[in-house]
Amino acid sequence: MKRWMGKFKALMLFTFLAILLAGCGKENLTSLNPKGYGADITLDLILYITFIMIGVFVVVMVIYTIVLIRYREKKGQENEIPVQVEGNTKLEIVWTVIPIILVIIILVPTIYFTFDLADTSEASSSINIDVTGNQYWWHFEYQDEEVATSQDLYIPTGEKVYLNMISSDVIHSFWVPSISGKMDVNPENVNTMFIEAYEEGVYWGKCAELCGPSHSLMDFKVIAVSPEEYEQWITDMQNVDPEEVPDDAVAQEGQDLFQNNCMGCHALGSAPSGVGPNLTNFGDRTHFVGYLEPTKENLVKWITDPESIKPGNLMTGTYDVTEEEADKIAEYLMQLQPSEITPESAGGLID
């Protein structure tokens, strides 16, 4: 089936359309420049249907234009009465049958790939990651490896990674446009989908189901690294000592403050999902809070006044720290860089 689509792709206009669209939008965010299996198939299908649809549109518009040019009422014709035609059975059969054929042509690959993308038979022999959607952040737990992290999802390139997704509160939707289509993250059942990134990169992820005031700020990233780098990252993450004391004095104070004020909700290491995000590799995050530049200034602002950064978040008002203390906590958190594998290993964010 895939090969057959490939042949179709060879059609000039089709290729032209694909190249034209690939320039649309930000690389690693747009679905028009696919970097993974799901997005690739989907774009092929989208272009295939678009191609047929443009054909239909052209036919409609040709008739429409002819009608408008030829059959406008002309001066002096105001009192002429056109022939009152009831219909034309042959014509009507033609424009019933042709759409039916077109619909079937569209349905065949649609149904094939619907089943293809829902196939989870290889899940048990692949990497499985438990994804939990929360207002307004994402938690990722690597089942077999006993590794946990939040917001930045590390995956190896070139293989299918299975995501078992559930929500802890309301419905979210997991969407990484340049790698794959989306799937809802429901609170009542685990939805499984797989993603496969073709090449290394930091890919933008978005929540696609209205989940509250900060729905539009629930960004996350998928960081696709080479399989070797992925292994390295897993090992580094497994070897994290959450109690490890940082070297400089400010960060040490920050650690104390963090343990006294924040550990009720946040977790370090492979501890199970808490109320708040797992911060094991916080210092490596591509963004803070999902969308802010990873600077200390932003982090302090987030700690001291979360409501202004993510309206409706659950952190506001649960602790009491001064700006000075927040500064120390930030210093500590930014030093949490347990692995040599960082977003930079995947080429970093494209700006």
Partner: protein, 615 residues
């Protein structure tokens, strides 16, 4: 705008409308309040677009933004588009089939007042602590957990308006089945009447599902039940099913009447009968039937599994076939005709390419796999605005210009009308075409802000500028409406019409037809123009005409339910709310008892009086 020529005080006019059971005045009420809600929802849309003009804008706050999108959607679909169609149907459909009123005039009054009070109730939420904020789809559990009273206003407001909608739907069905004039067989009915019938059938089957969903939501929010509470064994996906079992037919409820309108406008201004009338009727039925089979295509990403997804994809795409039949039939109606470009015809001509695009993106969305990318992005936003604006709103605007002389005895200015069309048409495409690409470029819908440096800036700016053009077009329409009032009365049958509604004198007499009209075929007025003297033949000699009395009870019953609704909402804050429930319910039920026990046989207009009137 009144049907009598003598001057009357404003108070009398208002009282007249509050107590009316006349289908024409009820129609005007629907148009008036539908229009008000349309303007409000349009204003909300402009605020939304202004917020999205630049990246990371803070024109409105995140919470307010969610309230705005919810109210925009809910107002537009339930309180603007649908009532505007109801207004047109109410006024025109009985005239098209040669009836003197709807089958149940009192029920008609009750329907319109329930809609008005329901709409006002929901919109009053702005003044009582905040509007609903979970989107017009109101998905659980977000809606169940939403703090404040916003969602409670959504639930009760739509419950009241929905009750009115179901009543009016039943009323239309009964009228069309039972009250067609002599000779008006089913297959001679104008297409607008046909689509009114099919739309009403859709309402009758679709809305009860929503009524149930709203009750479940009300119980969950007010009486601690757990239909949607997962922790207690509930299921939130049930809401989505119930919502879309109503929500998808709702799309056809909104677009079929527009199809009907264009099937009137295009033949009239092409001077040619509708091409393939029989096929058009059956295509309407087929669309309606299939419309019930496809609700889960709104839920492809929910995780229903590939079998369900594939089946719903097949159903969805099947709808393209009857819709295509309609498009080609309209084109062939114009083919060989003598096309006169008037404002209503311009809207019909604008509708064909716009709706074709909307239909094609519909097929694209129906392809399950492609939908994994499209779903809940601006692609979907673009698609449904192409269908709802390119279909329904163009239809409403065409109809307003087309039937305005019939309804208000004034002509709208063609010059202003054409200006309005071009502003609206270009603004519409500017706003929404680019959104297809925004969606594919990674912009999900219902986003309060989009981030800087994601190459979404230009598209959003263009979209916002387009929306302002549409706003301008609506202002032109309002100027047109206001200035038309000061012009002289409209001529009778100004468009050289084909169906019965154009055979009545201007302004429409309150009894509609002096003689019961005889229909001799499809396009009865056209037949008389071609083969007779251009006048509809009376089916029987002049009789006394039996008319219903007006009544204030529909208004009072609706008022009672509204008071009770406030009680239901405020009993959450303390026992004093319960008093309001008792008062409101007692009042409403009391009015119903009065209505049931009091005999009202109506009155007769004597034959002698009718003889004095024009034909």
């Amino acid at each position: 705008m009144s049907t009598t020529t003598q001057k009357r005080s404003l108070g009398t006019v208002i009282w007249d409308y509050m107590t009316t059971v006349d289908h024409k005045k009820v129609g005007v009420l629907y148009l008036l309040f539908g229009g008000i809600f349309f303007l409000m929802a349009g204003l909300q849309a402009l605020i939304i677009r202004t917020q999205l003009m630049t990246p990371e804008n803070d024109f409105v706050s995140a919470g307010l933004y969610n309230e705005l999108i919810t109210m925009h959607g809910t107002n537009m679909l339930f309180l603007a588009a649908m009532p505007l169609f109801f207004g047109l149907m109410n006024y025109v459909m009985p005239l098209q089939i040669g009836a003197r009123d709807l089958a149940f005039p009192f029920l008609n009054g009750l329907g319109v007042w329930l809609f008005i009070f329901g709409g006002l109730l929901m919109n009053s939420s702005w003044f009582f602590g905040g509007a609903p904020d979970a989107g017009w789809t109101n998905y659980a559990p977000l809606s169940v957990q939403s703090p404040g009273h916003g969602i409670n206003f959504y639930v009760l407001g739509l419950q009241l308006a929905g009750a009115g909608t179901i009543m009016t739907g039943i009323n239309f069905i009964a009228t069309i089945v039972l009250m067609r004039g002599p000779g008006m067989t089913y297959m001679r009915m104008p297409l607008f009447t046909w689509t009114t019938l099919v739309t009403s059938i859709l309402i009758l089957f679709a809305f009860p599902a929503f009524t149930i969903a709203l009750f479940l939501m009300q119980f969950d929010r007010m009486f601690d039940s757990a239909f949607f509470d997962i922790a207690l064994g509930g299921n939130s996906v049930i809401w989505q099913h119930l919502f879309w079992i109503m929500g998808h037919p709702e799309v056809y409820i909104l677009v079929l009447p527009a199809f009907g309108i264009f099937s009137e406008v295009i033949p009239t201004f092409s001077k040619k009968r509708l091409f393939g009338y029989t096929a058009m009727v059956f295509a309407t039925f087929l669309i309606a039937f299939l419309g019930f089979m496809v609700w889960a295509h709104h839920m492809f990403t929910v995780g229903l599994g590939p079998v369900a997804n594939a089946l719903f994809a097949i159903g969805t795409m099947a709808i393209a076939v009857p819709t295509g039949i309609k498009i080609f039939n309209w084109l062939l109606t114009m083919w060989g005709g003598s096309i006169k470009i008037t404002t209503p015809m311009l809207y019909a001509l604008g509708f064909i390419p716009s709706f074709t695009i909307g239909g094609m993106t519909g097929v694209m969305l129906g392809s399950t796999v492609a939908d994994y990318q499209f779903h809940d992005t601006y692609f979907v936003v673009a698609h449904f605005h192409y269908v709802i604006i390119g279909g329904s709103v163009f239809g409403i605007l065409a109809a307003v210009h087309y039937w305005w002389p019939l309804m208000f005895n004034r002509m709208l200015s063609e010059k202003l009308g054409k200006l309005e069309f071009w502003l609206f048409f270009s603004g519409f495409h500017l706003t929404f075409f680019i959104q297809h690409f925004l969606g594919l470029m990674g912009m999900p819908r219902r986003y309060w802000v989009f981030l800087e440096n994601q190459e979404l800036d230009l598209g959003n700016l263009i979209s916002t500028l387009g929306s302002y053009l549409m706003g301008l077009a609506v202002i032109v329409l309002l100027i047109n409406v206001v200035t038309s009032y000061f012009k002289g009365p409209a001529p009778r049958d100004p468009w050289d019409g084909r169906s019965l509604e154009w055979s009545v004198p201007n302004p429409t007499p309150y009894y509609n037809f002096k003689y019961t009209p005889l229909t001799r075929g499809l396009d009865p007025l056209w037949i008389e123009k071609m083969e007779g003297d251009g006048k509809i033949k009376p089916a029987e000699p002049l009789h006394d005409i039996h008319m219903p009395h007006g009544s204030i009870l529909p208004f009072l019953i609706s008022l009672g339910f509204t008071i009770a609704s406030f009680g239901f909402i405020y009993q959450l804050d303390g026992p004093h709310g319960r008093i309001l429930i008792y008062i409101g319910m007692a009042f409403a039920i009391g009015c119903m008892i009065v209505r049931s026990l009091k005999d009202d046989y109506g009155y007769n207009i004597p034959k002698e009086e009718l003889e004095k009137e024009d034909d």
